[in-house]
Symmetry: C2
Subunit: 257 residues, 2 copies
C-alpha cells in the first residue's frame, strides 16, 4: 500500500492501531501541533536540539496540509490517534482533530527511528526489540537539552544492544540520516549519561544486553514530548505514541550522503 492510500484508510476511520511496519520504505513522523504563540520557541528548541528533535517539515500557520510531507495530506484526520493536552495534562485522545483545529496552529513533523531501524535491518543488523516484538527501551538521561522559551529538560534516549561490529556499522549507517536522529549520542556504560539501570526503562520495554554486546544510545523523539509536557502549555496536540503520521518521503531520500 502507498502512503496516500494508507492515509485515506485512516481518514475513513478504518485504521486505529500503531503504525509500526506500515508502508515499509516510507518515513513515519512524530507530530507536534502548537499554537503560534509557542511555535517560534518550539522551532528554536528543535533547531538547538537536532538529534532529539530533527524536523522533517514545519507547516504554515493554520495549515493542516503540509505538501513537503505528502500529497492530499490532512493532519486533522490522517493520523490513527491523537493526544490533546490542556494546561499540561492529557485531556482527550480523539480519533480525529475535526472540531479542534484552529487557525493559529502550527504543525511540526519530527523524524522517527522507525526509518533508521529499517536501514539497520536491511544491513543485516539484528534488533532485539523487534525480534522479541517489544517496544523500544527508552531512558531519561542527564544530558541537558539546549533550552528555548519554556522548552528545556534533558534528553531521552532509545537503547539498542549490538555486537561491537554491528555498533560500528550502525554508527556509519545512522550518521547518514541526520533527519531521523542521526548517529548515536552514547555507547557503553549507561551511568555516564545518568541511566542507573538498563533493566528499568522510563518508557517502553527492557531488553537484555548480552555479554558480547554494547548498549548503543540514540536521541529519541520522546525528548520533545517531555519538554512539551514540562512546559505546561495551555493547548498542544501530538500523535498518540506509536500511532505515527505516514509520509510520502522515502526513507532512502533522507540520506544526507
Amino acid at each position: 500500500m502507498k502512503p496516500i492510500q494508507f492515509r485515506h484508510l485512516v481518514r475513513a476511520g478504518e485504521f486505529r492501531k500503531p503504525t509500526a511496519g506500515v508502508c515499509g520504505g516510507y518515513a513515519q513522523a512524530n507530530l507536534v501541533i502548537l499554537p503560534a504563540a509557542q511555535a517560534h520557541d518550539f522551532l528554536r528548541f528543535a533547531q538547538r536540539n537536532p538529534k532529539a528533535c530533527p524536523l522533517l517539515a514545519v507547516g504554515e500557520p493554520g495549515a493542516w496540509n503540509v505538501p513537503a510531507l505528502g500529497a492530499d495530506l490532512d493532519l486533522r484526520t490522517d493520523v490513527p490517534g491523537y493526544y490533546v493536552y490542556r494546561d499540561g495534562q492529557l485531556a482527550e485522545t480523539p480519533a480525529s482533530l475535526e472540531g479542534l483545529w484552529r487557525d493559529d496552529l502550527v504543525a511540526f513533523a519530527i523524524g522517527c527511528s522507525f526509518s533508521f531501524e529499517e536501514m539497520l535491518l536491511a544491513a543485516g543488523i539484528p534488533l532485539r526489540h523487534i525480534e522479541q516484538d517489544r517496544n523500544i527501551a527508552m531512558y531519561r538521561t542527564n544530558i541537558p537539552n539546549e533550552a528555548a522559551g519554556a522548552f528545556g529538560g534533558n534528553m531521552v534516549v532509545s537503547m539498542r544492544p549490538l555486537k561491537a561490529r554491528d555498533a560500528i556499522r550502525a554508527i556509519q549507517i545512522t550518521s547518514r540520516f541526520p533527519a531521523i536522529h542521526g548517529a548515536p549520542v552514547h555507547l557503553g556504560d549507561p551511568r555516564l549519561i545518568g541511566i542507573a539501570d538498563l533493566a528499568r526503562p522510563d518508557y517502553g520495554d527492557a531488553v537484555e544486553v548480552m555479554a558480547d554486546e554494547v548498549p548503543v544510545f540514540w536521541a529519541c523523539g520522546v525528548t520533545p514530548q517531555e519538554a512539551i509536557r514540562a512546559a505546561h502549555l495551555p493547548f498542544v496536540i501530538t500523535h498518540r505514541p506509536g500511532y505515527m503520521l505516514v509520509t510520502d518521503i522515502p526513507n532512502a531520500a533522507l540520506a544526507a550522503l
Copy 2:
C-alpha cells in the same frame, strides 16, 4: 617542508629518525618490498584484508619509483631506515637499499594510521599516546586474516581509549578513510577479540583506559608485517618500524567521501 624536500634530505643521509610529525598533512606509508615470486600472493592477501592492509600504491615489477606516491621518489634511498629479512629472520638494517635492489622486486605502499590520527586531532579528539609521547599500543587478536598463498595469521590491532562521544565521532571520521585502515574493527570488551590484558600490548606502549572511556580498536599495519615474518620468505624488505615513507599524497585526498 614539502615531502619532496624531506625525501631529498633522507636521500642525502641527513635524516635517520622516526617520521612521526614530519610533513604534517601528507600521508606516510608502510613499505613492503617482495620478489615477484611472492608479490602476487601478497597482493591477493592485501585485497582480501583491506582494513589491515590498505594499499596506497603497488609499484611496477623492478621499479623503485612509484609516481602515484610522489614525484622524483626513489624507494631505495628515500626511507630513513629499512629492515631486510632473509629466510624469515631480520638480517640487515641498512640506511639505503643501494646494492640490494633487484629487477624482480615489487613495492607495496600501505596506508598508515598517522594520517587518520591527524584527522582525529583536527576534530578535537584527544589521543592519549600522543599526549603522553608513547608509541601506540598494539595487540594480537583472534580475528583470522583471509589467507592467500603463504600469507595468513591473525589481525593485529591498535587501541585508542576514547570517551563515547569521541568514539562515535572517530568512527565517522575514520570511515571516510578506507585507505588508512578505515573504521574501527572493534570497541569495548577486548576479550571478545582475544586480547587478555590491555596493560600488556604485544607491540608499543600501554596507555591507561579511564572509567569514562571505551577502548576502540583499529586494524593495524603490523598485521601484514606479522604475516610476512610468519611466511618465512627467502627475501623481504620493509621500512624500519616508525621510519615511514613520506608521500606527496595529502591526507585529505584519501577521503572516500
